[in-house]
């Protein structure tokens, strides 16, 4: 759709605003994998209220604005083997690399962190190569 970039830019600004609030008010870097992973492996279990409240906001706000949009389709695959392998790769990979699109991408690159740029290039190249192999060679997605 031609208007997609407008929604992309507007949504991006909101994402950045969320990161700005989390940094300036709470003093934390808004990295989704770190916030989720810290609760999963117990490293943030002592002060669990802050990450838990953040995650609650991420889940709940889309419910509130969902009725404003029509035809929301996430086009997710129905192939469970693909979903499970992808989920495992994302879970393990983001924790080993200590960040994902929000932490390394949005928060890291905006403060010119070398690790943010290296990670972002690595996961975009891997995703692009993966897409070529999975879709155009193997035809599984």
């Amino acid at each position: 759709m031609q208007m997609d970039w407008v929604f992309g830019l507007a949504g991006g600004l909101l994402i950045g605003l969320g990161g700005a609030v989390f940094l300036l008010a709470n003093g934390k870097i808004m990295g989704a994998s770190g916030i989720i992973g810290g609760l999963v492996d117990g490293s943030s279990r002592k002060n669990w209220q802050e990450p838990a409240a953040f995650l609650a906001g991420v889940v709940l706000l889309p419910i509130l604005i969902f009725p404003l949009f029509s035809n929301v389709d996430t086009h997710i695959t129905t192939n469970w083997a693909v979903l499970i392998s992808a989920g495992l790769l994302v879970g393990v990979g983001t924790r080993i690399a200590n960040g994902c699109t929000s932490g390394h991408g949005v928060c890291g690159m905006s403060r010119l962190a070398p690790r943010g740029f290296v990670a972002t290039i690595a996961y975009i190249v891997a995703g692009g190569v993966g897409m070529y192999v999975f879709r155009h060679i193997l035809g599984i997605i």
Partner: protein, 144 residues
């Protein structure tokens, strides 16, 4: 108070992910599909998100402590290690396979349907075993 601001930050993040279209796996896969029908939306999302965030890092320089107290994150580490690359490559492969990364996987749980829960559960399992794999990787790197 800390939880309230964390909730607001999470809410902005979730709303932004929803509005930007990043919970639509076809848009993410479209961005990665350079040899198919390429979709540039993700670049606008990333660019848009970097603007307030870059301003926030500048404002951070003028303060000693965050508004709610505590400490700011330490300066960004400069070390590029194999774990950063290996982990990011694994993440990228999974990101391309399903078209989901951790933030959008959470934001889409309420409306995406069962597939999103399957991915989310697998991601949590991956995050749970990651510390052990990470230790093994450390030993492997030291041995080579």
């Amino acid at each position: 108070m800390r939880a309230l601001f964390a909730f607001v930050a999470g809410g902005l993040f979730g709303a932004g992910l929803f509005i930007s279209g990043m919970t639509d796996t076809a848009k993410v896969q479209g961005w990665l599909d350079v040899f198919g029908t390429w979709d540039p939306t993700l670049a606008f999302v990333m660019g848009g998100a970097m603007i307030p965030m870059a301003i926030a890092w500048t404002l951070r320089q003028r303060r000693d402590t965050p508004v709610l107290g505590g400490t700011f994150p330490p300066p960004a580490p400069r070390e590029i290690d194999r774990k950063l690359i290996a982990g990011s490559v694994m993440f990228g492969a999974g990101w391309g396979l399903a078209g989901l990364c951790p933030g959008p996987s959470l934001a889409s749980l309420s409306y995406g349907g069962v597939g999103h829960w399957v991915f989310f559960a697998a991601m949590l399992a991956g995050m749970a075993i990651a510390p052990r794999l990470s230790l093994r990787l450390d030993r492997f790197v030291r041995a080579t």
